[in-house]
Amino acid sequence: MLNRRAFLTRSALVGCSLAASPLVTPVTFAATPGDHRLVVILLRGGMDGLAALAPYGDPGFAALRPDVQIGGDGHVDLDGFHALHPALRPLLPLWREGHLAAAHAVSTPYRDKRSHFDGQDILEAGIADLSNGLTRDGWLNRMLQHMPGAGTQTAYAVGSDALSILAGSAPVGRWTPEADLALSPQALNLAEMVMRDDPAMAAALAEAYQLADSDGDALAVGGGQAEMMAMMREDMRASRQPGAETRLAEFVAARLKEEARVAAFSINGWDTHNDQARGLGRALSRLSDTLLTLQAELPGPVWQRTVVVAMTEFGRTARMNGTRGTDHGTGGAMLLAGGAMRGGRVHADWPGLAESDLYARRDLMPTRDVRAHAGWLIRGMFGLEAGVIERDIFPGLSLGTDPGLLA
């Protein structure tokens, strides 16, 4: 099989470089809006914050989670009160360097129905409830609308899901690294022509051309059918291998080294109704690999200006259910990583775990809105005014006191 490197050389010889081709609208490299980088990772399915970051110092904890062991192969103590899930152990160096923090007993304002889909809609829309229906844009997109100089390359939605957090009127790049295009120059030209009268498709195609041309292999190929098939096979082979999230993180890091300042993607697999010990460990390992990949791929000075926020639609029940899992709950945890963080601490107004302290006597009581933490972050990173955040980005939010998240 043709390997990618050989293919690149070949297409450089016989194909035409699209960067120099009149087919593609030249990219506008707008002045970039500041130097900070924000990556939002959506943990879809509802991460169990009480297992990821066990508040073992609470007198009620052991009764709720009798299986959690501190020390040995079990959870790792962080600060005498919280302990990190063993699958997150590789993140301990980040914690010690002050590049990893967490917020506990947080949630969106979503309550009671505990639906993944509504919960994720609210998390991504950044709104308080759905009584007036869902907004058609996501809060990260609204943030971009307030960033002077934000252009088509400023933000990326990465991976194959919809990521409504970035949907909206500000232009956003969407890509997954294994998608690719390799067509004859004329076919590329004609495809543009047939889509010209369909604005949505024309815009998606123009962006696809830019991305396919910029992700390491050429877009226009001269070799014909056999080469195209070989390239498709190659892309698909890579996509079947484990560590898909790591590949997303590599792509995100590559964009952040360039013009991109904002990126979002998802990690699934948190809906641990059964045998949580297994499923949650796997999901946390993927999160840990993703964070470490971002750190490894970003040059030091860029990492120093980076914040990665991992947030989920809700936490899970405080007690284990009848099937060694947890059901949909309310309060949970968010993880915050990056060189720009003032890490090594867990931010929480801790509500306690006695039955009377729980939300509806079943879930961890949320004492702070995840949007407030996100709001303080973007205020500090991108200089957005509090009024803009409370009115436009997270409508109806009260930012409250500064939790001091950033270094």
Partner: protein, 461 residues
């Protein structure tokens, strides 16, 4: 807009086909739903009842293997289990091919589209092991025979089906005061997953008039419903929560728990006005437009309520309504609709697709579909595929469609048509000039055919 035969093929069928006639009118389309199921005979998919034999065989073999640990038989049993896995994996691909070929050759394509819609509405899949291959057998047995009857029949078949019971964790849910819970001393308990999704996704809709209490009561009422590897759908009384439960203000069940109680609550949920509204809206969004005409939804809702959820009456209300034929904001085809309508327009020979080995199928069908955004029978969640066009018209999704359209049709149809003729086959007199031009101007047949398939006129419905 009145009925239009070409739009009927594209919007409510599986696309145009060179050798198959367009429907004469709504009446013919509806009659097709009760016509003999020729496609199921020609491109068979294993019914779930047969698939159960595989599950039962496996359960026995796994027991045998446990007993044989440390004996010479162990290795042979392990091999047998491996072989069974491989066969199931291959059948899984073959069934996907059968779904494609049914859409390619059906003379009653509205049936295939409805099966797609309801299979997605009742999204279910296996989470581990052999049962991961059971989605097509589930669709074949629980969905396909019930497309045009009362919704309550479809609802009962789908949500109490062993695959759904497994997918939404019902098999593990035990009444907190059941005999089993008392024996197990608190080690087992209730799981609300299925109850929640029945209310939120399958019937009332997320805006429906239910509370967390209704979810919990319904979950308690559902206890007892489980699956059995030999018999499939199964009600075990010792798992059931004793006593009556109140759902939406009405009491169900009593001291002798029975699956009848579950049937009763599902019937009432099926006939609820919120369910009528939810389903009418969802069908209109799926078939017509992301922003369907409210009058269309209202007509379908009325038909639903008047007929106590007779789906064929709801489809009639859809097909006879002028707003169903509006062309100002057409939907984008979902990836599988796109791919299958291309197969239909190309009239791909069944033996080519059925002759593929697993790797060929993966590279030409499964993986391209995944890049278009649809992971076949691996849903992100029980809400299934996104109905919003914006979820599919992304640079990545469009790029995957374009690349597939130019590259793969020649593999599927060795006798690729002349692109200039193919424009007419695929689009008919509606073909825009730009598409005709591209078909003429393309350097190769594959490019020409691919550009027709990638054109908005083909991708929209």
């Amino acid at each position: 807009m009145p009925f239009d035969p070409i739009l009927a093929e594209i919007r409510f069928g599986c696309g145009r086909a060179p050798a198959l006639a367009a429907p004469a009118g709504p009446e013919a389309m509806l009659a097709g739903l009760s016509a003999p199921d020729a496609m199921a005979g020609r491109f068979p998919i294993e019914p779930f009842e047969t698939f159960l034999d595989r599950m039962a065989w496996r359960t026995e073999k796994v027991k045998e293997r446990r007993k044989a640990r440390g004996t010479p038989d162990f290795e042979a049993i392990r091999k047998e289990l491996q072989v069974q896995n491989r066969i199931a994996r291959q059948d899984h691909w073959r069934w996907m091919a059968a779904h494609l070929l049914r859409r390619t050759y059906s003379e009653t394509p509205f049936r295939e589209r409805l099966e797609g819609f309801w299979a997605d509405h009742f999204t279910a899949t296996g989470k581990r092991g052999l049962i991961r291959r059971a989605t097509s057998p589930y669709t074949e047995s629980a969905i396909r025979p019930h497309l045009a009857g009362r919704f309550e029949a479809l609802l009962f078949e789908a949500v109490t089906h062993p695959l759904m019971v497994h997918y939404l964790d019902q098999e593990r849910s035990v009444g907190p005061n059941s005999e089993r819970a008392q024996r197990a001393n608190g080690k087992v308990g209730l799981n609300e997953n299925l109850a929640r999704e029945i209310l939120e996704l399958h019937t009332l809709g997320v805006d429906g008039p239910y509370t967390q209490t209704d979810v919990r009561e319904l979950a308690e009422l559902l206890t007892g419903l489980t699956l059995h590897p030999r018999v499939g759908r199964h009600f075990k009384r010792d798992l059931a929560e004793p006593g009556a439960e109140t759902v939406l203000g009405k009491s169900y069940g009593g001291d002798a728990p029975h699956i009848r109680d579950i049937k009763a609550v599902l019937r009432d949920l099926a006939r609820h006005p919120a369910t009528a509204r939810h389903l009418a809206w969802k069908l209109a969004v799926h078939f017509v437009s992301d922003q369907p005409d409210p009058a269309l939804i209202a007509a379908m809702e009325t038909a639903y309520l008047d007929s106590k959820g007779d789906l064929s009456r709801v489809y009639a209300a859809l097909l006879y309504h002028p707003a169903a034929w509006a062309t100002d904001a057409p939907n984008v085809k979902l990836p599988f609709e796109f791919m299958s309508s291309a197969c239909r327009a190309l009239a791909i020979p069944p033996e080519v697709l059925l002759g593929y080995n697993e790797r060929q199928f993966l590279v030409r069908v499964y993986e391209p579909l995944r890049l278009m955004g649809h992971i076949w029978q691996r849903p992100n969640g029980p809400d299934g595929l996104d109905e919003a066009d914006s979820a599919w018209i992304t640079p990545q999704g469009l790029s995957a469609r374009l690349q597939w359209a130019v590259t793969v049709p020649r593999q599927l149809q060795p006798d690729l048509p002349d692109p200039r003729d193919f424009v007419e086959t695929a689009l008919g007199p509606r073909a825009p000039d730009a598409v005709r031009f591209a078909a003429r101007a393309a350097e190769t047949r594959s490019d020409g055919v691919g550009l027709v398939l990638a054109s908005p006129a083909f991708q929209r419905m």
